[in-house]
Amino acid sequence: MDFQIEVNKRVIDVTEGETLLSALRRNGFRIPTLCHMNRFSPTGACRLCVVEVEGKRDLITSCSYPVEHGMKVLTNSQRVIKARKTLVEMLLSNHPDDCLYCQRNGNCELQWLAEEMNVKERKYFGEKQKYFPDHSGSSVARDPAKCILCSRCVRMCEEVQLVTAIDFIQRSNKTTVNSAFYKGLNTSSCISCGQCITVCPTAALLEISHLEKVQAAIDDKKRKVIFLLSPSVVASIAEEFGLKSEKGLPGLIAAALRRCGADLVYDLGFACDVNILEESKLLLEKVQQQQGMPLLSACCPAWVRYVQVFRPEWLPMLSGVKSPQQMLGAMIKFDRETRPRSEAEKLYCVSVTSCVANKYEATTEEMTHKGISEIDAVLSVRECIRMIRTNGIDIRNMESERMDTPYGRSSSLAWKTGYSGGKAEAVACEAHKLSKGKNEAFRFVMPKNLSARKESKLKMNGHTVGFSWVSGIAAADAYVDSIIGQGRKDIHYIEVMACPGGCVGGGGQPINRLPEKPRNRKKICQEMEKHAESKTASEVAGKQR
């Protein structure tokens, strides 16, 4: 602590160079914000973090103001509180009053703020403008009427994901966050990662919902509805309902899905195993031939879309292995040995994932065969949880059931694909095992310094193979660019996940910004690894064959 300042007549310790907001929050002063995001440059757009500083004519925003020697701050003077309340009232003055019918009802920062500021009546009546919701994209839907222009999504899209599919358009109170020339997200550069949804404080950004479609399929007695449950979803649902991470956890969720009307529930972790196995083989092949390096993972559809749109020159380096979701969809529907084509039309594959880019991936033309798509609908974790709740299923008082065969098992490696670094680790383990030819105890050493970019080296078949992993498009783009630009030959496999932190931070995950509820999805994944029976992917995939 460098020096002290006075806040509300109390003295607090602050560090030179930090913002007033961080100093206040650390010392237990609650300052409301709408536009502030940790680790992002402050914009000062919402003005809700204003405080009164002695000697300053106007109120100042604590999010952008550095602490100064001898500062005397008031965070709860009548002037400050009145200003904050008026600001919230201004936002509410032309807000569509449909909280009861809103997707984010109960989980909306504007709602919380209005409650916190004790807004009990509509003081100002603003003219409600006519906005056109954008449902043109295949995974992200926008409703500008609920947008409060905090610019969190804009900064996320620009600074973290490097895509800039949305930005401010127009001036005055006609300003909206929109895609270029109001053309809609489908023609924009949007990569469907859905990170904008996770930072939106209101319901201005949501996923394109497939719930109704799925419900219709369940009700259709002629169709067989198959749910594919991915490991990261199991972790998120467990976190949401407070379930214990024990061996029967996936089966418990499978049981819940069956009660919702699923005819079959398969484990998407199985496809992850196949994916890991295939990618390991591909990597060993490339290492042997010493060409086509580095191999870029292609299991993240948002990353694949990014490469297609922004970096087409990297396409040859992308791994040709299909993403687990599409792989399993194809296996279920188009396995000629077990199933005739006429039967494929009657199957309805619903994938439950933590990703909204999977919604986009499932609709692409490459992922269909003669008019039949491999995956018919994709539910995000949010939708899945809603479905479980709507069906009145008390998941905490249920018995675990087994997943359906043949795709009902997965190895511990599959659980690793849920978080950043896990997939690289899994591929390293599997490749190591393949190169040795036997099941040997193997430890992958995690580097201690956990920055956005991580690297690790491993000896196999007489070659030193470099693995690295990176999450967030901006970091990934810069990293891959530097590897190629510097002509580095020591990195052979790069795992890229578009969402910061990997699938556990995916765009389809439950949105929860309560500070007292930290995220522990990754921890659940890691605990579940211990319960898995098989430790290698080839064991699972091989058995199936």
Binding site: G44, A45, R47, L87, M90, R171, K174, T175
Partner: protein, 649 residues
């Protein structure tokens, strides 16, 4: 000394004038300069004032008519497209200078008057009509019985320090500018002064920034000069978008070289190697002339790399910005130069530490910069002679509104507002009394009849709770409704809000809506009930306080000023709108109620035919009647009635 190769002139101007410290002592140099500057001419020389104001008044047609006349009569004369004298009232202005005689100036010369004017003047006969006066000169023969132009009431009280060449020189001719003393200051600066000395000199002069804040310019420069960075930027803010002001545009159009010289000196003094002139794209003529001037300055070696072998590198770049009021805010301006959306950023960090591309950047306004060459050339003491103890120099205003004369005026600091209106503006056009002077929308402050004797001075204005503003000077008489004015200002701020922060974006919209709904016709659905109107006025004050307190940039902070000042100075008028539903000036359309005086009405049916909503009933040759519930208050009937039968109640 007839036609001479331009190369010869260029070499002479560079070697004998710019790089020669004893230039003023040499008689032959002086004599040659008087020809280059067209102070003396060898053949008739005709100037047409062709700045934007002149062009609107028809200067182009006048120019073409003169060109036709000259070629028809085979007269060998120079025809020059000049700048703006500032006297917009008199446009198009034509100046004629005959060899050996003083220069004459004529006002309102439409293309139809060209023939007779030239017939007369070229034969040394002066027509009485439209004569503005003659320019004083020591070396030329004056005309008899012709008043000097500086005795004209519009000019006599002005002090032209910034506008000394405006309307007199050919704006794009670098030769004329150098011959009249231009770029001398810059040439002396880079050869004889260190950047710190220049900063000191400007600080000593007491020049305060004219953008509105009034921060000492020299001090601001010194901060940037002392900042450590491998790259610094200088930015000239030429985004003049305050409604009612256009003096920056006028002086750039009339003398672009002076701005370039000032930018060069300022960039040198602040250690910036790149200078941007950020100008509104709509100022097409100013941009065109600025670019031309910049090309010729580069041709003379005044910009670019290693200027005059001094080792100084300064690049000047003209950047056009879209029409947005917010671009005048320095952080938004920097964003716009970088190619981003013009949105202000929170301060700190200030541009002086982190501006363009995160490098120290200094932003100065055009008017501030126009002072620089003269201060450097004549010294700080010369500058301090003009003005009041607190505010030095002169101030430009765009005088407009209800005065007899209007245009760009330059007054010494310390002149009272009454003097500007009564003497320079020639009083009010109409016989109505003065109601207020609007000093720029940014400050939103009014000078009322009671404060008319206030001096043009930063401190004096602060005392009456006002500020100097951007330079708009709109004179209003009692035919103007102040509530309507406040609505206009609020609508302007709402329209120009960048949309970033909540108070400015939403708050101004709410204020505007309250104002509009409170002044609607009582019969309309959207109109407020008396209780709602009362509540609305209460809310206005609360909203205004929060907007002022919490807005991100100065645009938002000044947005509620218009309404607050109207409430302060014109409370009665405000109340009569809200509570009595009456507009004293009969401007607010929704509050006008028309009736027909049955005694006066002849039943001509003129109003009946014009009414857009069929609110007038009656048969021909019998008195008509207005149905109040239907009437929308458009006033068509009032305008069309020849018998004064329609009355506003």
């Amino acid at each position: 000394m007839m036609v001479e190769a331009t190369d010869g002139i260029k070499q002479f101007l560079i070697d004998q004038v710019l790089l020669n410290p004893d230039r003023e002592a040499s008689v032959p140099v002086k004599k040659r300069l008087s020809y280059i500057s067209r102070e003396r001419v060898e053949k008739p020389c005709i100037y047409v004032g062709m700045a934007t104001c002149g062009l609107i008044a028809g200067a182009k047609a006048t120019h073409d008519a003169i060109a036709n006349y000259l070629s028809e009569h085979q007269i060998d004369a120079d025809l020059i497209q000049g700048g703006c004298l500032g006297f917009c009232h008199a446009e198009p202005v034509v100046d004629i200078q005959l060899p050996g005689r003083a220069r004459l100036s004529f006002s309102r010369v439409g293309s139809g008057k060209v023939q007779s004017l030239l017939d007369d003047v070229l034969n040394s006969h002066i027509p009485d009509i439209e004569l503005l006066g003659q320019y004083g000169s020591k070396i030329l023969q004056m005309w008899d019985k012709v008043p000097g132009i500086d005795t004209h009431p519009f000019f006599s009280r002005q002090k032209r320090m910034l506008m000394e060449h405006c309307g007199i020189v050919n704006p794009v001719s670098i030769e004329e500018y150098i011959a009249r003393g231009g770029y001398w200051a810059f040439a002396d600066t880079i050869s004889g002064l260190t950047p710190a000395q220049v900063c000191r000199l400007v600080e000593d002069s007491g020049l305060a920034g004219r953008g509105g804040g009034g921060f000492p310019a020299g001090k601001k420069w010194a901060i940037t000069l002392n900042a450590v960075s491998e790259q610094k930027f200088f930015v000239c803010n030429a985004v003049e978008s305050d409604p009612g002001s256009y003096m920056n545009r006028a002086i750039i159009e009339s003398n672009p070289h002076r701005l370039i010289e000032a930018v060069l000196i300022a960039a040198y003094a602040t250690g910036a190697s790149k200078a941007y002139i950020f100008i509104r794209k709509e100022f097409t003529l100013a941009v065109e002339r600025l670019r031309k001037a910049l090309l010729s300055a580069a041709d003379y070696g005044l910009t670019g790399h290693h200027i005059f072998n001094s080792g100084v590198n300064i690049d000047v770049i003209v950047r056009e910005g879209a029409r947005a009021f917010v671009c005048g805010e320095e952080t938004a301006l920097n964003n716009s130069i970088e190619g981003k959306r013009a949105m202000p950023a929170s301060k700190p960090p200030f541009p002086a530490e982190k501006g363009l591309w995160n490098k120290p950047t200094i932003v100065n306004n055009v008017e501030t910069l126009f002072n620089i060459p003269a201060i450097v050339r004549h010294g700080p003491e010369w500058f301090q002679e003009t003005g009041t103890p607190g505010s030095k120099g002169t101030k430009l205003f765009t005088l407009s509104g209800k005065t007899r004369y209007y245009g760009t005026v330059e007054v010494p600091m310390g002149m009272t507002f009454r003097e500007i209106v009564d003497k320079i503006g020639g009083g009010l056009k109409s016989e109505l009394p003065l109601k207020a002077i609007v000093l720029g929308i940014n400050s939103g402050s009014y000078i009322t009849p009671s404060t008319l004797d206030t001096q043009v001075d930063f401190d004096a204005l602060k005392q009456i709770g006002s500020s100097l503003g951007s330079g708009a000077f709109v004179v209003l008489d009692t035919s103007v409704c102040m509530v309507d004015m406040a609505k206009f200002f609020t609508a302007f701020f709402q329209k120009e809000s960048c949309g970033k922060c909540i108070p400015c974006r939403e708050g101004t919209a709410r204020m505007l809506e309250i104002m509009e709904q409170s002044t609607r016709r009582p019969s309309e659905k959207l109109a407020f009930t008396p209780l709602e109107r009362f509540k609305g006025v209460m809310q206005l004050r609360g909203l205004a306080a929060v907007i002022k307190d919490t807005s991100l940039c100065s645009l938002g902070k000044s947005a509620p000023n218009a309404i607050l000042n109207t409430l302060k100075h014109f409370k009665d008028e405000f109340d009569s709108h809200i509570f009595d539903r009456k507009c004293v000036a009969n401007v607010c359309r929704d509050l006008r109620i028309f009736t027909i005086d049955a005694d006066q009405c002849t039943g001509c049916t003129a109003c009946f035919k014009r009414c857009p909503v069929d609110a007038i009933i009656g048969s021909p040759r019998a008195p008509h009647f207005i149905v109040e519930e239907k009437c929308i208050g458009c006033g068509n009937c009032y305008e069309v009635c020849k018998f004064n039968a329609v009355i506003i109640t």
